[in-house]
Symmetry: C2
Subunit: 261 residues, 2 copies
């Protein structure tokens, strides 16, 4: 599966239900949050007010399952490998097809993810430790509150990649170009200042090795909006299953600059 | 009046009702669109889908007149020098205070404007011809359609500044940093390719001189969303009077980079 379209076709036919990291390299992958229209307004505002953790790639019209701006012809009900169905903040099902849960008032919001800038870091020779170690990226709740929007609130969640201070400067320069993939680091080198007590004990994902001479570098993380949604307990929501993302037709290079225009 | 707060206080007291260009230099000025919540959803989506002409600086909660993220304590009902009141797409009044038109369902959307990047161009020695000539910037309807959102649609409107091809490169580099002030030029040097028949006859604003060796450089323009709103004829809307903008607490430098974070 070398393109977003191929991954989506395999999901739609039921042939593929696995995680998407490493698939269709170079194609932009996205987090998915689907909410009833009334809740989607609050969530859209939450993303507008917190663009670093919540870079919006596409938002559908109510009832329309096609993300026409990042993947014309795709169907968000079938084209992801696995979904999570939520009722009042409780996970009730993990289907491979969300068609039977669809409603005419549902709005789909697609949020950029870190794969895009990680590819750019690797291309520049900057290490991405959790990839080297075959683990999930370490993620932490911070003591920094997001800007509230309607019923949504919560702390900024960050991901961490260890590197040398020189590599941190290179990473900052590179990631600044990708505002729709979390942008420049949120912070470099001082976990205590953002309320992280122990970098070896992440709140989500796996711990990774920080080598001598390296500092932890923190990025705003796409788990932030997901945590805010779960905390708000909307009556109904559909999300992707973690690691089982929507693969779009955008290329990483399309996000290099001012964003989707 | 050297700061955004001073301009707003003068507007609130009724002492100032004039145009804002040149006031409180260095402070970010914004276009204002106020809509009933149901219409504001469509407009928010329109801005999300068309970020170059519609860079959102702030969006309020329904009924809340305080743009708390770009000017805490400000009151959008009183703190602009002049307003326009619209009913079904028709201009019905031009008051200096919008308090008596306020409703609990109104959402205010503040959209970035060109003053921010014009200041940066002038600082870099790039000419801004309409300022030199003491005129309004020339603006043109293009044949490029914006992405539709709900009831909002319409052509991209662009502004034009003539300069040499070398200055155009400098301007592109500088403006790329200001995604929340329309970003890099939309197009350089070929008006016919975007449906502009005669650069000497703008659709809005004034014509300016294009000197020998200069090319017209076009930027996405904040008139785009205003035209889309008027075209859609919402039952009720409040906007700023043209040239009579909201002056925020943000500094131009705050928009240099990834945006308001």
């Amino acid at each position: 599966m070398n393109t977003g379209a191929e991954v989506r076709a395999a999901c739609r036919s039921g042939a593929f239900t696995g995680p998407t990291p490493g698939l269709a390299m170079g194609y932009v992958q996205a987090n998915l949050v689907i909410l009833p229209r009334d809740w989607a307004w609050d969530f859209l505002l939450f993303c507008q007010r917190n663009p670093k953790p919540c870079p919006l790639l596409d938002v559908t019209e109510p009832g329309d399952p096609e993300p026409r701006f990042i993947a014309a012809g795709a169907d968000l009900r079938t084209d992801l490998p696995a979904y999570r169905i939520w009722e009042n903040g409780t996970l009730v099902e993990e289907p491979a097809d969300a068609t039977r849960f669809w409603r005419s008032d549902l709005v789909s919001l697609l949020v950029g993810c870190s794969f895009t800038f990680e590819n750019a870091l690797l291309a520049a020779g900057v290490p991405v430790r959790h990839i080297e170690e075959g683990r999930n990226v370490p993620m932490y709740r911070t003591n920094v509150a997001c800007r509230e929007a309607g019923r949504f609130r919560g702390p900024m969640v960050v991901s961490m990649r260890p590197m040398t201070p020189g590599q941190a400067a290179t990473a900052t320069r590179i990631c600044s170009r990708f505002a729709l993939a979390h942008g420049a680091p949120f912070q470099i080198g001082d976990p205590a200042a953002i309320g992280i007590r122990d970098v070896d004990r992440p709140d989500f994902g796996d711990a990774v090795a920080i080598r001598p001479g390296e500092v932890p570098v923190f990025w705003a993380c796409g788990v932030t909006p997901q945590a805010a949604v779960m905390e708000a307990k909307p009556p109904f929501a559909i999300t992707h299953k973690p690691g089982h993302m929507f693969v779009s037709d955008l290329k990483d290079a399309d996000l290099d600059g001012e964003g989707v225009t």
